[in-house]
Symmetry: D2
Subunit: 334 residues, 4 copies
């Protein structure tokens, strides 16, 4: 960490800052330039709050040399992490497709979709039992019943299941779940992250609506700091000024993350775009960018289930996407 | 709600949409133009997911006429809500100042600050016991001990206390708290909002880092839908591309909210700017914009407590801010 | 266009609005609901300023049914436009790669790069003679001399040339240029767009740093309204809160634009990411998203030309990107 | 400027970088830490492109110590600049109000409005003759005729005039204009800035829709580098994800700019909010934040001039705003 002091910094302020830093076990290299003095801080600076130091009166600017995350950092863990999701490996050169409906509705629905997506090439089943909805008056999911139906679909198809948790108090219900999803709105629900860090389940961590890549990796670090290093990152679009799509899918985050972390990264083009007909080109683009997999919404009959079908593909459309995606993946692997 | 159909919409698609809407108890006025057909949807459309309807193949665009929130809506509740915060009224023409340290550290610290801010003109005391921190390696607060120290400070000064909750499982610890704060990162932690909706405590709901005014009001609606209509909104800066300040304080939200809702709105210039010397001009500007109050960080000795002082004022600086703010408030009330 | 009136709208206000609209030659269908009155405006509404109508006291909201652009609109021009760029067709199922250095520096440099990119598969040559630089103290380009060197490189290789214009007063210098580029910062320099609309040169119109897809199409409309319909759109990343890449490449804009317009769309992954090693994955992703081409920075010796090499590929790296991109394109076309 | 090298940086890369920097006349202080090497660059680093250096393979990060602007920088020019606008001083503790219609329409209109705003307390007259409009089909202003009418209004009232330029080729028409305005969309029209830098007219430079404070100051630097140091900055709202107001007024930029630059800063609440009834609270807030003045749209009869009235105040409303604003200003000056 580099701390650049102001020309106007008083010696008393500088001494207090140095004292504070050395108390944290850090070593200080001071170099005086013509217009400013620079402190090079050596040691484990992950505990130092850079924003706070930057806002001190004596400080012009702060620049981190080391990232504030350790366990998620590729520098300290160069090999790719492969997450075992109920027997399906995610990361490390594998390419997996998670598919299923937005919400679990009935046994027939979830089993039918599960069979269809397996047939088309999906290797994991998704489906929501707890649904984060903007409106308190909207359908909030089947909760425990939904988890039970997912388990049935897994028994029928052998597909491991991925489903979202929304509160620490629900954890007991997730015993039979293979991968626990943390939604975008809970990416910085730190109490939830801490509790999940003490489980031994794979965690699929969605990027927050307006969170940076670094904040995202810090949230992964929360889970890993608790002892659970089975984390999968999932990009699902970020909030920008553009309204032509629901969110802006940030595919550049894939190669950026591949440099910064050893964790697998998958893409959810369904939520990012919000419109079924944009899913195919964005799924292909995501694959070409080097992602480790996709998460796609599929519904058995979007035409009849009016309001769940908006961003969902039919099984046939999904099968077509899988074919194209696999051809693109072959180019990436070539 | 207005639904504009595409020229290419097929009759079967239109019929399915109409069937869906009438099943929700809504009435449909159809009007055919030269280039498009328009459905006017009459009735309680708060249950209709506008985004989903908008993404149907047959639909060109959707426009809400009524807002999706009811209890928070000024149209249905024209008089200003006044929230009783342990005897201190917030809203309805009153102007209140909440002040205190970022984190509760020691009995001496919190009692000293509480006395100082009361002396300077604050009417409520803030202080964090549960701290949402980006890094798992940073100080996370004193938890139950912090709440106990806040209670002591309240006994010493008579100031009602405002402090943040981070998880539903901690609610029992908040019995003696006067106002429960929901932080920006939990604004869409819907399970937490539902639980708080079943309490009878005033809730101070901070705006999420990248949430719209409408999403914010929908989160207030979550609390109110549970039966608790004692909600105070708190703007604390939004995430933009600008990095000169930590966040961008959106003061226009004050007059916008005054039109849309009857709930009180206060401003936190400390978190928005992240720098103590910007707090005074932004506190004055917030007051001039018509806000119902302020929330300001004050530390007894920012110079010695190095890393808590960055955005905190000293008691003397705070007293100066209060004097200026009251003079501005007098102009607003004139 | 749909205008939703407020419940509180006074008859006098409504009459004035209707008078204004009928004066523009528009027809009004009025429908009264329980809570609001809706005006359906029929006719050519491209001349109506929707923002202004929306801000009238009597108006609750405005919703466009028709887009405000006509000549750029696929509805009125369903077939893809193919732009003839000095003999190289862009759009309409063709896939073209524009490559070359950021700035033209010397004859040897531009001719060497031109030969190398042609050998690797590029079909158009780019190079900057007028450089928009944030700082007045930075190198601003060779101006007329740079254009002369580009012409030499074209004579040597046969590659048509693409280069940026920055002011209407420079137009005479662009006689021998095959495609005139409008940079992101000039996307809403309306006087420049008008002047270019009166030329018969193909225009490559970059998306502004923070402009919506609709604003971008309106800028294309400016050029086309002047009589020049040879417009190529170029996405080069938008400004968001994320700082891990220079800008956020919005690849979803490709399928969105394919629906809205008949104009070709190409992607510039070099400026979007700002870092050479991100160009390859993003070029592949752009191709998979369905873009009509790419624009890539290539320098003959990035290692020696220190400050032009940051986001530029070497000819060898570029040749590798072209190979991968062509394999992805084959999947898109399959 | 601090350059932090990667652990993996090769000596050859480092030598090339050092060679490049010393060739620019800069001195290098090298300090080797445990995990990285740091180069402290001493001298005039305004010519160094920090983004480019940051993207070199050998470089981990770059941190500027000095800002890239010199003439606009308060460090090198501590006293406030006072800009003489046709006899009216802007900056340096004065508070000025610029008012007038969006567009100049007729002699009667502009003279009537000019008299009314002067009567109410305005000290400068604004009015658009060249109008930047998103649509090529919208009214583009009266051009030369508009400038002539503004001159008439100045003769009638004595108010100096402020009006916008859109292209370098129009400069000759601006001889009788007191203050030339550069609009938000032209903030980075560098050729225009250069030409204005060679005039001796005061320039009112609006902030670009999505430009940072630093980019804004760099655009001021372009004008000042040409020899014209009479620059007034004008904040008019920035583009964010929020749609409740047209733009998000960034009032924090006022105290930030007061630290960074000696140039005056004024606020335009009319364009920022886009709605007349938000102008009053935002004008008061802007004044409380410490701005040097306001720019407000006023129309003689918004009720009749339908589409120019949306964000314009009537003369009576304007007079009320001026009264409140002056009372707030008195508190700021107290």
């Amino acid at each position: 960490m580099i701390v650049i002091l102001k020309q106007t910094a008083q010696q008393e302020q500088i001494d207090r800052l140095k004292h504070f830093l050395t108390n944290l076990g850090l070593r200080i290299d001071e170099s005086k330039g013509d217009h400013s003095t620079i402190l090079g801080i050596v040691g484990d600076t992950t505990r130092v709050d850079a924003d706070l130091v930057a806002s001190l009166d004596a400080v012009e600017a702060v620049q981190r040399v080391q990232e504030p995350y350790k366990k998620a950092n590729r520098k300290f863990h160069p090999e790719n992490t492969v997450v075992d999701c109920g027997g399906v490996p995610v990361g490390g050169g594998m390419f997996q497709i998670i598919a299923g409906p937005c919400s679990v509705e009935t046994e027939e629905q979830i089993v039918t979709v599960a069979r269809a997506v397996k047939e088309a090439g999906a290797t994991l089943l998704r489906g929501g039992a707890f649904k984060p909805r903007t409106s308190p008056y909207a359908f909030q999911g089947l909760h425990g019943d939904g988890l039970r139906l997912l388990k049935l679909a897994k028994q029928e198809t052998g597909l491991p299941i991925v489903t979202e948790i929304m509160d620490t108090s629900h954890l007991d219900l997730f015993d039979d779940v293979d991968v626990i999803q943390v939604g975008a709105r809970n990416m910085q629900n730190f109490e939830l992250l801490k509790v999940l860090g003490r489980t031994n389940k794979p965690i699929l961590l969605k990027r927050g609506l307006a969170n940076t890549v670094q904040e995202w990796l810090m949230s992964a670090e929360y889970i890993m700091a608790g002892g659970n290093d089975q984390v999968i990152l999932c990009e699902r679009g970020i909030r920008t000024y553009e309204t032509a799509t629901r969110n802006t899918l940030d595919l550049s985050s894939v190669p950026v993350l591949k440099e910064k972390t050893h964790l697998p990264i998958i893409i959810d083009p369904s939520h990012a775009t919000g419109v079924a007909r944009l899913v195919k080109p964005m799924a292909m683009a995501a694959t070409a960018s080097g992602a480790d997999g996709l998460m796609i919404e599929v519904h058995n009959d979007p035409r009849h289930a009016l309001c769940d079908g908006a961003q969902s593909l039919t099984p046939d459309e999904f099968a077509d996407v899988v074919r194209r995606v696999k051809a693109v993946r072959a180019v990436v692997e070539a």
